[in-house]
């Protein structure tokens, strides 16, 4: 499997990252090199091995289903690039 320009373009769309021309030039080779190096994992026999989901042997804790936070609209909006009347502003998405 090799990573070509088209793959990089497709993945950059999935990741919502606009790449510069220079990055479009460099990334295929670099990422291909990294993926080839990662390919060595295929040698490891992992039949009958479950994927690790947690390094610590613990039960997730349940908590009461109750409101513990809130009433902080201004704090939530404080760092937004653009707000109006208590809302985040985004480009129009519905015509």
């Amino acid at each position: 499997m090799s990573i070509d320009k088209d793959t990089v373009k497709k993945v950059s769309r999935l990741a919502r990252i606009r790449l510069t021309d220079e990055e479009m030039e460099n990334f295929p080779g670099e990422i291909d090199g990294i993926m080839n190096w990662i390919e060595q994992l295929a040698e490891v026999d992992t039949d009958n091995v479950q994927p690790l989901t947690s390094v610590v042997d613990m039960q997730m804790q349940m908590r009461k289903d109750e409101v513990t936070d809130g009433d902080c609209r201004d704090a939530v909006l404080a760092n937004a690039p653009e707000t109006t009347e208590g809302f985040f502003v985004v480009p129009k998405v519905v015509e």
Partner: protein, 496 residues
């Protein structure tokens, strides 16, 4: 007279308790030193006014007999920890100007124990790097130099600013985070001591996420005991982090007995990698001898999947980062680039401009390995190998109580070296990544110098939640190594 900036945390706490000086005096000395050392670029934001305010409040508390564990000690906070009202950037352009409305649990714990914050320490962008050369706010310079050579060296990464600040005596201690070695490797490169505790020991709440199954908060200081004091203040259960473990935090300083008699110390044969410099091997042997002389039993162990740890890490960490960093969308916080196009255009432009190269590469790899058709081949495969790596450690701990290894395969290198391709840089973390994948605690301490006069570190890895044994073994090695060398660029040397 000893400069205030050369004291350890323990010495400063004792002296302030005796009334020899105040936190305001100690803090002012560090502020002066910090401002005289801006060439190191260890801080992204300095907070001298806040520090002096906190120091004055600390002096008042001490008078009433309510001194906390870190009472009046000036420290640097890695700029990955959200600090209320103080810019927090993760060294990324995308978060320039972001001022959190809340305080991370760990930094709050430290404030509760009387810490004084000098500023926010520089790091690799989103903690992705091993040399602190990916920060949007510039490279951090290691205060050490090779003998007779003025080349600027890297401090290691990602917590490079934290490590450089503590080594240069412009902070008495600093916080770090460690995902694959980001505390231990810079500690080694800067000739200081740093610990990554067990995954789950410190809350991750309010620490900007890189790879959530690996990220863990930890400390830097110039002695093992100072790290024990810091971790005591930082650690503890937090209901706001579902992976923070509800288990009591022992008294770490009490573990520093120096008595390692009868302890079994593992030496993994797979860590003797090709091309490792002779002096790194020699220092490892020295460490083994020190422990033997002190009555520990040295046991050769095998961690058979060691060689697969790095490629496993470079699937899992990017996968998690591609998910975690999806929140930087230009809507809720951080920068936005809007050229009047669609919402997708806004996302793409904002992220394309806001993230640096290494972050983009990792998001791309993560997105790729999680995408349809590759999820099993890469992501699930890596999680299975991770289980085998975890099993390696669990098996080893049937036979040993702790593990001794070098921290890094080399001393600090020059800025611009090791950048031919990304994989060369990744190899820096060959000895630290396995313990990260397994969630085990690891500490690095300086134990000797290489032929160029640069510090080299040894790493002690312990059982889950057994930081006490890690501290105990480290304390013994610290005592035996008598590492007293200091970097060329310390505060008191500049002042002289």
């Amino acid at each position: 007279m000893t400069h205030l900036t050369d004291l350890t945390i323990k010495q400063a706490l004792d002296a302030m308790e005796k009334g020899e000086f105040t936190s305001v005096e100690l803090t002012q000395a560090h502020i002066d030193a910090m401002q005289a050392a801006q060439d190191l670029n260890a801080y992204i934001v300095e907070t001298p006014e806040l520090a002096l305010e906190q120091a004055a409040a600390s002096d008042a508390r001490r008078k009433t007999g309510e001194a906390g564990l870190l009472e009046g000690i000036p420290m640097a906070m890695k700029d990955l920890y959200c600090t209320k009202g103080v810019q927090t950037t993760a060294a990324s352009k995308i978060l320039k100007g972001f001022k959190p409305e809340y305080e991370s649990t760990v930094s709050q714990n430290m404030l509760n124990e009387g810490m004084v914050m000098l500023g926010k320490a520089n790091l690799d962008e989103f903690a992705m790097g091993s040399a602190n050369i990916t920060s949007h706010y510039g490279d951090v310079i290691n205060p050490w130099k090779r003998q007779g050579d003025d080349t600027n060296l890297v401090p290691g990464g990602s917590s490079g600013g934290s490590a450089a600040a503590v080594a240069a005596r412009i902070a008495m201690g600093a916080t770090g985070t460690d995902t694959g070695g980001s505390i231990r490797q810079p500690a080694a490169f800067c000739g200081i001591t740093g610990i990554k505790p067990t995954y789950g020991r410190c809350s991750r709440w309010g620490i900007i996420a890189f790879a959530s199954s690996l990220d863990q908060a930890g400390s830097f200081a110039r002695t093992v005991e100072d790290n024990a004091i810091m971790l005591q203040a930082m650690a503890g259960h937090d209901p706001k982090d579902g992976t923070s473990v509800n288990t009591p935090v022992p008294n770490y300083r009490e573990a520093l007995t120096g008595d390692v008699k009868g302890l079994r110390i593992g030496v993994p044969k797979e860590y003797r990698v090709d091309g490792m410099p002779e002096e790194v091997l020699a220092l490892w042997e020295k460490g083994i001898d020190w422990l033997k002389e002190a009555g520990a039993e040295i046991v050769e162990i095998s961690l058979p999947h060691t060689k697969y740890a790095l490629p496993t890490y470079y699937v899992i960490a990017p996968a998690e980062c591609s998910s975690n960093l999806s929140r930087y969308d230009g809507i809720r916080f951080g920068q936005r680039i809007d050229e009047g196009g669609s919402l997708d255009d806004l996302y793409e432009l904002t992220r394309g401009d806001g993230f640096g190269d290494e972050v983009k590469r990792r998001i791309m790899i993560g997105t790729y390995v999680l995408s349809a058709g590759y999820y099993d081949a890469y992501y699930n495969k890596a999680r299975k190998v991770r289980q085998l790596i975890h099993n390696d450690f669990t098996d080893a701990y049937q036979k040993v109580d702790a593990i001794l290894t070098p921290t890094a395969p080399s001393a600090a290198f020059g800025i611009g070296e090791n950048t031919e391709d990304p994989v060369t840089m990744y190899l820096n973390d060959v000895f630290t990544v396995p313990a990260s994948l397994a969630g085990m605690p690891g500490l690095s301490l300086p134990a000797g110098l290489d032929k160029n006069g640069l510090p080299l570190g040894l790493q002690i890895i312990g059982r889950p939640f057994d930081e006490e044994t890690v501290f105990k073994v480290s304390g013994l090695i610290e005592e035996a190594a008598q590492f007293t060398a200091q970097p060329q660029m310390t505060a008191s040397k500049r002042a002289a």
